[in-house]
Amino acid sequence: MSTDIGTLEAYLRKKRSEGHKLVVPYITGGFKGWTDAIRAAAANGADAIEIGIPFSDPVMDGPTIQHASETALHGGATPISILHELRSVDVGIPLAVMCYYNTVHHAGHERFANSLREAGVCAAIVPDLPLEESGLWCAAADASGIETVMLAAPTAPDDRLPRIIDRCRGFVYAVGLLGVTGERDTLATSALTLAKRLKAITEMPVLIGVGVSDAQQAAEACTIADGVVQGASVMRRLIEEDADAVGEYIAEVRKAVDQC
């Protein structure tokens, strides 16, 4: 198993070493205006972008991203069309995909890993593929140079976290709360508690995602974590407004986390 540091992790570590907090927005692939939103986010201070490949049964997602996924699917988006379109998107920062495991399983592990690499994607997040089931995919991903970001949840006992980190590439995705993606009024205390537990045992960048709902919550998360992943608050702006609104929001988040 290769333990060389990959493109995404190297990039995030370099940014961090410059005293920079990491902002990673999530954008649903195939949703109207999604490539413009990627460009707007990158131009306004995102450090990497997570692109969602929509799935019919997104069990980790709340209403906003469910809606975005369903709309994209109804519009004819497929994993192939999204990866194809991504080839023409060069924003100078690393791109990761978020997809449910059946998308990977259906395509075949090696074929899917290769298709990511060919599309210029350097990492994958597969939220329904926990550590114990990840072996086949991770072997194929490693072989293709795709970094597999693992999720760590507040429910993990202490002896589980180091095993997750060992298998993790890119960054550690600290799930901020018990629940699915979506905006909340406040940042859950579980987010900071988990980030502290992870920071105590790894040098890998630790980003909090799920329930980081605005610029102020992002800044609060970054008092402990190295950065944040934000999905529902980004997609709500793309659904209700447009790519420009996404850009303005990322600029706002950037400013807030830079001050902390």
Partner: protein, 387 residues
């Protein structure tokens, strides 16, 4: 006996535990709690007592003389429709809710299709003093209004699932989303032999009482012999696995009948959804397809992983029947035997009627897993003016 799954929850290549990281510790805790409870004589006694004194077990075996004569076969029914709450679902739910209490959980969430598992869950929660929330596809809420009201009467909260196909598949998604958020105090009572390990194995274990009883009852009725064919409906497949478990070591043909619009084994290919790798109806990109069946309880694009395994090794077969055959069988059974079957069970009945010419003189055991009262309003609409 059916074999136990491997340590990683596999039946052959099927099964596993494909859940969000948040739920992994909960599945591990459940597996360990179930192993511990099943090995504990006091838990087994408590469950056996409830099954006997509350659910009404053992369920009887009925020979259908009229239909048997018409079809040229010997037809036996395992009468799970006579259980308390009207279906086999109570067998698993009493076990699961007892286990939830033993684990210190305060709340049950469940998904339901036709409402039978929801009603059974609401019943067990009422009996054992836990709160209960049931997710049900919005379309099923409409076509199974009677069961929705029953659940509410029993004190459960019924939440319509409005995403996706608004049927059983989406009710499972909503129940899993609820569980991800509430896992610390909540037990997810899955209604079939599906979901992440240990559910397919645990639910099968609780449902195997059907097969054990049926085996003994057949031996008594058939002078120590086994039936030639054992038939049951398959959506997720819990009633089928329950009755198959008593006959897997015999020479009996095991037949799981799927609806034509939800034929996971017949038309699907291996995929991963709802925590398990199993046969799954999906499109060319791996999107899960929406099932289309007259029966809300079978309106599911996947199937329990052990059925995928039994199909893959050729031990069981999974033919399908269409809605028209089902509507006809529903009426045939009602008129010939005075038994109104659940629409789910009209599927194996339809298969038996279709295949009877090839089974002349054989003994066919069918699991009548539920009663048809819940389907009467829907059938009134379908048969409007034809009766």
């Amino acid at each position: 006996m059916l074999q136990d799954p491997s340590l990683d929850g596999r039946f052959g290549e099927f099964g596993g535990r494909f859940v969000p990281e948040t739920l992994v510790p909960a599945c591990q805790e459940l597996e360990s709690a179930f192993r511990d409870a099943w090995a504990d004589p006091s838990f087994r006694k408590e469950l056996d007592d409830l099954l006997r004194d509350y659910a009404g077990r053992p369920s009887i075996l009925t020979e259908c003389h009229n239909l048997g004569k018409q079809l040229g076969i010997r037809l036996l029914l395992k009468r799970e429709d006579l259980n308390h709450t009207g279906s086999h679902k109570i067998n698993s739910v009493l076990g699961q809710v007892l286990l939830a209490k033993r684990m210190g959980k305060k709340r049950i969430v469940a998904e339901t299709g036709a409402g039978q598992h929801g009603v059974a869950s609401a019943t067990a929660a009422a009996l054992l003093g836990l709160s209960c929330k049931v997710y049900m596809g919005e379309i099923d809420v409409q076509r199974q209004a009677l069961n929705v009201f029953r659940m509410k009467l029993l004190g459960a909260e019924v939440v319509p699932a409005v995403s996706g196909s608004r049927t059983l598949k989406d009710a499972v998604n909503e129940a899993m989303r609820d569980w991800v958020a509430t896992v610390e105090d909540t037990y997810y009572a899955i209604g079939s032999v599906m979901g992440p390990h240990p559910y397919p194995w645990m639910v099968r274990t609780f449902q195997s009482v059907i097969g054990q009883e049926a085996s003994e009852q057949c031996h008594s009725l058939l002078d120590g012999k086994d039936p030639d064919v054992v038939v049951a409906a398959v959506g997720g497949g819990s009633n089928a696995i329950g009755i198959f478990s008593g006959f897997v070591d015999t020479k009996a043909r095991l037949v799981g009948v799927e609806p034509a619009g939800g034929a996971a084994v017949g038309k699907g290919m291996p995929g991963v959804v709802h925590g398990m790798r199993s046969y799954l109806m999906q499109d060319e990109h791996g999107q899960v397809q929406e099932a289309q069946s007259i029966s809300a309880g079978l309106d599911y694009p996947g199937v329990g992983p052990e059925h995928s395994y039994l199909a893959s090794i050729g031990r069981a077969e999974y033919p399908s029947v269409n809605d028209q055959e089902v509507i006809s069988a529903f009426q045939v059974m009602s008129r010939s035997e005075g038994i109104i079957p659940a629409l789910e069970c009209a599927h194996p009945m339809a298969w038996i009627i279709r295949e009877a010419p090839k089974m002349q003189g054989q003994t066919v055991l069918m699991n009548l897993s539920g009663r048809g009262d819940k389907d009467v309003a829907q059938m009134m609409e379908i048969l409007d003016g034809q009766i």
